[in-house]
Amino acid sequence: MKRTLRRGLSRSAALLTALVAGCSGPKASQTTTLSTPDEATFPPVSDALEVRCGTLDCHGSIYRNLRMYGIYGVRADAKDVTGTGATTADEYARNYVSFIGLAPEALSAIVQTHGQGIEHFIVITKGTNAEDHKGGQRMKKGDSAYQCLTSWISGTIDMNACTDASAITPPGGDGF
């Protein structure tokens, strides 16, 4: 009887300790340094993402994470209208924050290793539909959008790929 009681108390103490440890967050003074991809070269990457991910019916909506501002989606400035006028510097900055804030620790590790494990990064897994994605497959491994994004994260942006990925045309071209 005593033994059972002692065991029960011991388990309760362990559970309580785990709960306390689980609920306690980092100290206010604690800081974490993360590595992020280059913001200065982000606009062409943003262009590639906006046209295939950032329309009003997808991530260009304020109701979805990885929110993307710009010509195809929600506008940052109340004076701007969707569909009219290029994506602004402020919108590129906001898109950058959206991007690096999505999975910061994972992104940091990939940036620090110049791209190792990039195929597991959420924007890649979702974008390629390797992970279930309501918007389906928006890039394929090796295509210009994939190359643009992965090269930028890895530290050496492929501008040609980004330029190529900034437009998306229907099968057979624009004269459909």
Partner: protein, 179 residues
């Protein structure tokens, strides 16, 4: 035995209700209000509204559409553009054509065309110097089958404004038989 059968029935009904009760969509449907006076339910009703809110496959409207919307003559007015051809092509190259009615409405039955997104769309109307006049949409559609979900009025930070053929006013006469 009978109690168990009852229980199964109750649980099934509750599960069905829970799955079909989407409060966001219900709120959207409610927000559309009633029918306009003098316009019967049917192809001419509710121009400019997000058609798939009701006709998207989960009711309350029937039939089910995969794509639907309203085309207006120009950017500034709400004059319907009848008899325009609306042309779609999906990412697999599968195309579909439909036409606007006198209310400017068009719709594509899910049973006729279920596109693989993205979908590109272009509106054709009339000719100038023997060349068809057309207006392509500025971006592909990625998932939303209701034009008005993104093309509501007024145009602003979260809306493109209504779908139109011409940036400048046209003088296409309205159909006299249209309610």
């Amino acid at each position: 035995m009978l109690l168990r059968a009852h229980l199964v029935l109750v649980v099934s009904v509750m599960a069905t209700w829970a799955c079909s009760s989407d409060p966001v969509r219900s709120h959207l449907v409610d927000s559309l209000g009633g029918e306009a006076p003098g316009v019967p339910k049917g192809p001419l009703h509710r121009p400019g509204q997000p058609c798939l809110a009701c006709h998207g496959g989960d009711g309350p409207g029937a039939p089910d559409f995969s794509l639907a919307g309203t085309v207006y003559q120009d950017a500034t007015s709400l004059h319907a553009l009848p008899d325009a051809r609306v042309h779609f092509i999906d990412q697999n190259g599968k195309t579909y054509d439909t036409a606007t009615n006198c209310a400017g409405n068009f719709f594509v039955m899910s049973s006729d065309y279920r596109p693989a997104y993205p979908v590109w769309v272009k509106v054709f109307f009339g000719t100038v110097a023997d060349q068809p006049v057309s207006q392509p949409m500025g971006s592909p559609i990625y998932r939303e089958g209701s034009c008005a979900a993104c093309h509501g009025d007024p145009a602003g930070t979260e809306s493109v404004g209504h779908v139109y053929l011409s940036p400048v006013p046209l003088a296409v006469p309205p159909s006299p038989s249209c309610p």
